[in-house]
Structures are given as structure tokens and as C-alpha cells.
């Protein structure tokens, strides 16, 4: 009899627990917005350098720079092609390193993409299966992040290809 009561208690309490969790879950916002991710710290990850295939730790990237710009790109992504000249322009006019994260790409295709359009990146990291981008919180290519390189926190995130206005905004944020 006691056994039965314990069982009942356990089943009831877990049912009630599930109920309240789901109840709380109902009240949360379940749409992804870029605001969700801003001021989030990017956890350290390991990747390989695009050309040399050397292992690189994200936390050791550009130690002398206060800011870095992380750009997720791919050779198969048409908007990336479009944003490329803006990226090149941005890199030339800013005191920050531009880090490329090559998302789910084939090495040969990516290389010919860069030889055709030029390579604005200081470092390119590989994300062959797309896991790093997911960890960061990306949900498409291209995406661009302005990151405080000292505490690795995201300052601003841009969805889709960056434009002239974005460039000005990034410049003013970095020059502050």
C-alpha cells in the first residue's frame, strides 16, 4: 500500500512538473530575432585555417585587435557574391580584422570564388559541416557579426549581404 502511494506521488509530481514547464514554455517568445543574440558571448571553438589546414582556436584569433568582424560565407551563396565588394571596401577602411567562416563549402569552389573576386579576409576558417555557425547562432548565409575581440561578445549582427549603410554603422561603432 505504501509502495502504491509512493508511486502515485512520483507520477503525480512529475506530471505536475511537466505541466508547469510547458506552461512557462507557452509564455516565451519563440521567434528568432537578431536582438536575441546581441551581447551574447561566442564560446570558444576550434577550426582549421582554410589554406594551410592548421588548427586554430577562436580565442587566439587576432590578439592585437580590439574588434573583429566575422563573416559567414560560401561559394554557392549568391548574396555572398553580391556583398563581396562591400566586404572588400569595409576591410580597407577599418581598424579590425575580417574573419571569414567558410560555411558548408567545397575547397575547390571556395578557392576559385576567392581567386575570381579577391580575398578580403585576414583569416578564413572552415566550417565544413555547418556546426560552428549553428553554435554561434547563425541561420543563413551570409551573416556578418561585429565582435568585441577582448570579451568575445557580439556587438551587432547583420543578416544577409551587408550594404553601404551597414559599413558606415560598423565604422562608427569601431571608432567610438
Amino acid at each position: 500500500m505504501v509502495n502504491k502511494k509512493i508511486k502515485l506521488f512520483l507520477i503525480l509530481s512529475s506530471t505536475i512538473f511537466i505541466f508547469f514547464t510547458l506552461y512557462l514554455g507557452l509564455n516565451k517568445n519563440n521567434y528568432y530575432t537578431t536582438e536575441n543574440i546581441v551581447y551574447k558571448k561566442i564560446e570558444n571553438f576550434e577550426s582549421y585555417e582554410f589554406f594551410s589546414n592548421k588548427k586554430i582556436n577562436f580565442k587566439n584569433i587576432s590578439p592585437d585587435k580590439k574588434y573583429i568582424i566575422l563573416n559567414i560565407w560560401s561559394s554557392w551563396c549568391l548574396p555572398c557574391r553580391k556583398e563581396h565588394k562591400n566586404l572588400t571596401e569595409l576591410r580597407e577602411n577599418i581598424e579590425a580584422d575580417l574573419i571569414g567562416l567558410n560555411y558548408k563549402d567545397k575547397f575547390e569552389n571556395a578557392k576559385s570564388f576567392l581567386s575570381e573576386l579577391g580575398n578580403p579576409y585576414d583569416i578564413i576558417l572552415k566550417d565544413e559541416n555547418g556546426l560552428i555557425s549553428i553554435e554561434i547562432g547563425a541561420y543563413g548565409v551570409p551573416e556578418t557579426y561585429l565582435i568585441n575581440n577582448i570579451n568575445k561578445k557580439i556587438i551587432k549582427k547583420y543578416l544577409g549581404p551587408i550594404n553601404e549603410e551597414n559599413i558606415k554603422e560598423i565604422q562608427s561603432l569601431v571608432n567610438q
Partner: protein, 624 residues
Amino acid sequence: MISHLGSYSLIFCTIFAFLIILQSAKLIGNQSKIFLKKIYTIITLQLFFVIFSFSCLLIAFVSSDFSNITVYNNSHTEKPFFYKISGVWGNHEGSLLLWLLVLVLFLFLFILDTKNYDNKYKLLTVIFQEIIILGFLLFIIITSNPFDYIFPVPLEGLGLNPILQDPALAIHPPILYIGYVGTSLIFSSSLAAVINNTVNSEWAKQIKKWVFLSWIFLTLGIMLGSIWAYYELGWGGFWFWDPVENVSLMPWFCLTALLHTILVLEKRNALKNWTIVLSIATFSLSMSGTFLVRSGILNSIHTFANDPSRGVFILTFLFFLILLAIIVLFIYLENDKKNSNNFNILSKETAVLVNNWFMMYFLSVVLIGTIYPIFLEVFTNEKISVGPPFYQKLMIPFLIPFFIFMSFGPRVKWIKDKLKKINYTQIIVFISSLIIAYIIFSNSSVSYLFSSFLIAASIFLVLNSLYDFFSKSVQIPQKISHFSFSILILSILLNGIYSEEFNSNMKVGDELKFIDKTIKFKGINFDEKDNYKLLRGDFEVIDSGKNTLRFNPEIRIYNQPVISTSEADIKTNLFNDNFIVFTLLKDNEIFNVRYQHKPFMIWIWISIIMLAFGGTLAVIKYGK
């Protein structure tokens, strides 16, 4: 006017539901037939009013009565007639009304089916079923009344999302709902049987056809959703492990387990408690499905309702039913004396139990993958996304023992079977499946040891199920369903391993090479249809044998609401599907083109239909 009628008949139904519950509760001790007749009359009336109310909504949709807010939000005068009808359940309010209709209809059919059964059992089933009906009625009336009206009456409606304008999707909800709602009857009747202390062979025999019926519809409903995803979304897949897909798969695992267990209860009068637990779990999972889909707690294409009050209502109601079931079980359920431990290790009983363990394992994987992200987010505010790799990594390794077990399971006899010392046929079959798997893999670029074992195991299952066709100890419905299941699994695996995809940006006139094929983009032309404009592409795919396939995929731009969709052009034959889908990237000039080669696609659909057909034969057989 018509909306008012529909609305009032729902209120009548609510009153009837109260009446039936009260009357039935009063009558439980009484065996008089006259009073029972009265309850049947009220149930018939209730059915009439639900049908009436549903017809009102149907008429409102067909006649494009935009004073009704549901019609306004989801229909449009220019919409084809067929989709005006399917628009009735293509939205939150209407789909709940459909759910209610099926609930009441099933109760009515159940009453007709159980003429000669014990009154107390019948009345208790009616009470539980009416509690569920009442819950849904209140839910509809309070939070999601399909008959709300707007004034001034708008001239034109907002239209149905074009992605939902698809024949498979038009019948997907009703079929799936019949499956879901069928489980409600299993729930009610199992609770009634527990209270009445008649969980026995006779009950199993009676409820069995309802289990099969729900299972058939659930299977077909899931398949239709999957067909829609394959043809309409044009992503080339048929299963994406989307939370909402998972939600329909969970009751399916549970129901499949129940389908096997109920036979043990029928034949051997054993596994009573387990059958009851499965019955209750199946319905709870179906209800959770409704909750997860309708509350907006998950973000998915199926999410209609974003009103949290609706979510709270279903959640509360769901847990009320679960608590009710737990309390009933604790008060009335006796200890199962014929414990599963007493089964002989080599018996059909054990085989069914092993099947159940596998089903429960698959169920847990899907359950955790679907629910865990919600829990994690509530407690840590962290968003994670659980995708196909999770499910594949956790499920696929277990498929190998599952297939091997399933090859033998159906042949084991009840109570106790003899183990032959060496079964040469089996060894030959096993070796030949390994050889076939080897041949398949030696001809392809894929060569993983693991995949070849997986394929070998599934070929072994196919051969064994084929062998069972000539065995006398296996029944015909079971032969068909098991064989179709083995074909299904084999086609899914081969499809997964051999699918090829080409994805590139192309301009008209471009010609690209892909493995041994050449893909030519020959041109585009424009056209205009009733409710959309279209852009038709002209592609040619030439393979190494110089065979040419022409493709005409479309990009449709709907006018109400303005949405563009991509229609894949799919060429199907017995061995593979080839398809091209393209999307607009820039100025009618540059397109993203995806060509896919999917082997054995058609066999996935054929085998699911055969699987359900096996179930149908069982229902016909048991229905007699």
C-alpha cells in the same frame, strides 16, 4: 445568418454533452434498456448538431461569406472550389470543429458497434468520451469559435496560404484526425474497462478493430503529410524531423506497440496493465500533439494559433485528462498477476514484448528530441535545435537488431516454441542477404561497413517476410503489413544512401556537368492561371547513356495573398525519381537550380499504402 446557426448548434451540443454525462452517471447501476435508448437518442442528436454546425461552416466557405471571420481570414472568392472546401479545416478554428465532428462520430459508431456489450462498460465509455467532447466544445466556444463575425462585412477575403493549396494536404488533416481521434475512443474504453474490471480477451477483441482503424488512418495521415512535404516543399526529402512531424510519429509508435500487445491480451489474456498504459499513453500523445501544434509553443509551418490563452486551455485540459486517467488507474487497476516474467522466452508473447521495447525506445528518442528543447529553454533560456543527425544517430544503430528480430518474431508460436538446433534455411538467407548487400555496395561510391550491415539486415527482413508469405502460421493481414514494412525500410535506406543532389546558380543557356549527367537550362516562359502567374523553366538532363529527360518546373506567384512558391517537376518511374526545382534569385535572369536523383521514392509511398492495406484487411476480418 448561417454563422449564427452554426454557433447555436455548438451550444446545443454542449448542453447535450452535459446531459449525457449526468444521465449516464445516474444510469450506471441500472440495467434498463429504455433509459439507454434515451442516451443513444441524445448522442444521435448531438451528432446531428455537430454535422449541422460543420455544414454551416462549409457553406460559409463555399459561398464566400466574409462576414464570418474564419472565412475572411482563410478564403478568397477566386480560390478553386476544391480548396474552398479544404479551407474549412485549413485553419485553427475549422480544424478543431473537424476534430469535434470526428470525436462525436466515433462515439456514435462505437455505440452501434457495442449493442450486445455490458451496459456499465458502455455507459462509462460514453462518460469519458463525452468529457473529452465537452472539453473540445468549451475550447472551441471560448477561445476559437469559427463562427465569430466581423462588421462591416469585408468585400474580399485574405486567401489561403498557397503552400497549403495541394490535394495531398487538403485531405491530410481529416485523415490524420481520424487517426488521432480514434485513440480517444481507445482511451475512454480502456478506462471504462478498468473501472468495470473487464480488461480481458473479450474487451481486447472488441477494442482491437478501433486500434487497427486508428492505426490505419494515422499511418495514411502521416504519409499524406510526408507526400505533401516531398512534392510541395521541393526540398527533396520526405521526412525532416520537424517537431510537428515528430508529434504525429510519437502516437504512431505507441499505437503500433498497442496493436501488437492487444493481440496478446486477446489470445493469452495477459499484459493487461501494459495494454491499458499504452492505450492511455497513445491518446495523451495525440493530445500533446494538438497542444504542441496549436499552442504555438513550437515554431513550425503548422502553427496556426499564437494566442497563449488557447495553449493554456489545451494544456490544462490535457493534464486534466492525464490526471483523471492516473487516478482511475490507481483506484481500480489490479495487480497484473499474469506477469510478463512468466512468459517463455521463445514465445509470441515475448516476441511482442521485444517489439514493444523497440517501439518504446524509438518513441523516447523522438519524445526527448522534441520536448527537451522546450524544457531547456524554459530553465536556461538557451535555444538548441535538434535536427536529423540526432535522430539518425540514435535510431539507426538500433535498426539492425530490430530488423533481425522482426525477421523471426512473427513466426514464433504462442506459449512455447521449439528451437531448432541449426536452421540451414536461415543461414543461407542470411548469407545471401550479406552477398546482395555487398553487390549493391560494390557498384557504388558509398562504402561504409555499417551501411552494408544495415542494408544486409533489411534485405534479410525482406527475404524473411517474403518467406512468411508461404507460411501457414502467419495470418494474411500480418503477412502483407510486415512485408510492406520491410519494403518501406529498404526503400528508405536505399533512398537515403543513393540520393544525389546538384545545386547551382544558372542562367538561361547554361550547361553544367554533374557526375555522369549534363544539365541544360534551355529557357523560360511566362503564363497566367486562375489565381496565380507562373514562370516555367525548360530543362534537359542527359545521362551517360544519352537518355534525355525534360523538366518543366514552375515558379508560381499567387495573387491572394501574394506569395511565390516553387513547384518541382518530378519524373517518377519504378526505380527512381528525378526532379528539378528552381527559384528566382535575381531579375528573372539568375536562378538557383536544384536537380535531385532519388532512388526508390515511389516504393516508399506504395509500401505505406500496402502497410495500411494490411491493417484494413485486419479490420475487415476482426469486424465480422
